[in-house]
Symmetry: D2
Subunit: 141 residues, 4 copies
């Protein structure tokens, strides 16, 4: 499959750690959001650009698998990969690496769809988004 | 001072507890928000009613004093008091009681102002809000 | 499959709503946590009881599918179902209903494993947990 | 008053913005936490070092004044200042600048106390902390 990808580094916040001393699992969805935005800023489809183009893309599916724990103070590397596809959907995969321990911490995925301003599902990819996809220099998986 | 007030009961969420095993201090601002909304629903100035009247009231000041810790599983009682005042401001005070230990857990306050849809400060209380204030049956502190 | 289940009602917090005016997707993981704890309190395996028995059960997998949006002020009903299984895992499914619109809002699942106090994976279900499972009055799916 | 200080830069997360399109006020307490940790890492009293020295320092008071709104995508600069004082307390002040608009966004303060592992208040500053304070090169306000 064709994709574009990006890497960012994240610090774990004290308030993101639960009473077991590890990052509360729900916070990974914030990390994924950081990854999407970072990728969008580089490739020209950031949240602001989506907003300016009146593209509303809520998440309809997400999945996370946790491989090893992350503690306060650990440094994380997040790889975010966006896949080219024909359907009117945005599909991302994520890999969270714990740079402090050298272990893979989690993998995940999210799927987004296009809705109009009344939040109704759009079955076709908006033209402005197709044009953006066609302008990218895709890698091959 | 004249006021109206309300009591609600809250359960502490696992995700609200930090690695010390106590409620992370920032979560009290969520409790205060629950208190304001609950008071608003009873007295006819809930978030939805504010929105319908195009009243936008961001918080401009908040203060919290922590008196005793709250652990996961503790039951909380929140007293929220709204004060009548002449200035174009909304002033609330809060008391959080830990029903499990019988101790006062925290006190706090918030101040909100009126802004227009461009988020610019409004110096006068909107008429619809004045009318609402005048319709209330105030208690005396 | 055999299961036990529980229903709870939830209010959406202002701070849980994002700039699209809908509940931010990551907050559903907090709802699921509320559901697990509520079920645990009824059936005798709450967070406190897990802690007292030195059972540590981090989440290793979660999945959420979003079906319809939830707005501030909407009332939610959460159905949480815990499945009996032989593996040393805890498997839950969740259904979030928007009581205000009458629509199914989301479905989800979580899987937890047993770890020791060094957070190392345990391959067998602890005896105290097996005994608890055997004491339950399971329903059949 | 004598102080040490530090500056960090922060990005606003999508999930930190509320339905008014501005950073939800409670998130500033997360920013302040980032500031304290950053200062601690530089001056040798990070969360990990506090933990290793068995110093537990919960927040007992916090105050925030909001001066101008912060939107998604805005860059923030946070100045965190730690004050030298005789009492067994940790006192910080914070200044959040919106680098995108050039405006001061918020000011705040936090006070922490020393507690023992049973979370009981300690009236005297632990010796190891006094030594750390004496080792610093303080500036004068």
């Amino acid at each position: 499959m064709k994709y574009i990808e990006n890497e960012i580094y994240l610090n774990v916040r004290f308030s993101e750690v639960d009473s077991l001393g590890i990052v509360w699992h729900g916070n990974y969805l914030k990390f994924f959001e950081d990854g999407r935005e970072s990728l969008g800023l580089i490739y020209g489809m950031s949240y602001q650009e989506l907003y300016d183009k009146r593209l509303v893309v809520p998440i309809v599916d997400t999945q996370i698998s946790f491989k090893s724990v992350v503690k306060f103070g650990d440094k994380l590397k997040l790889v975010t990969r966006f896949y080219k596809q024909k359907a009117a959907k945005l599909h991302y995969k994520y890999w969270v690496y714990n740079e402090t321990t050298g272990q893979l911490s989690a993998t995940g995925s999210t799927t987004q769809v296009f809705v109009n301003e009344e939040l109704e599902l759009q079955l076709f990819t908006p033209e402005v988004f197709e044009e953006w996809k066609n302008s990218l220099d895709w890698k091959e998986e």
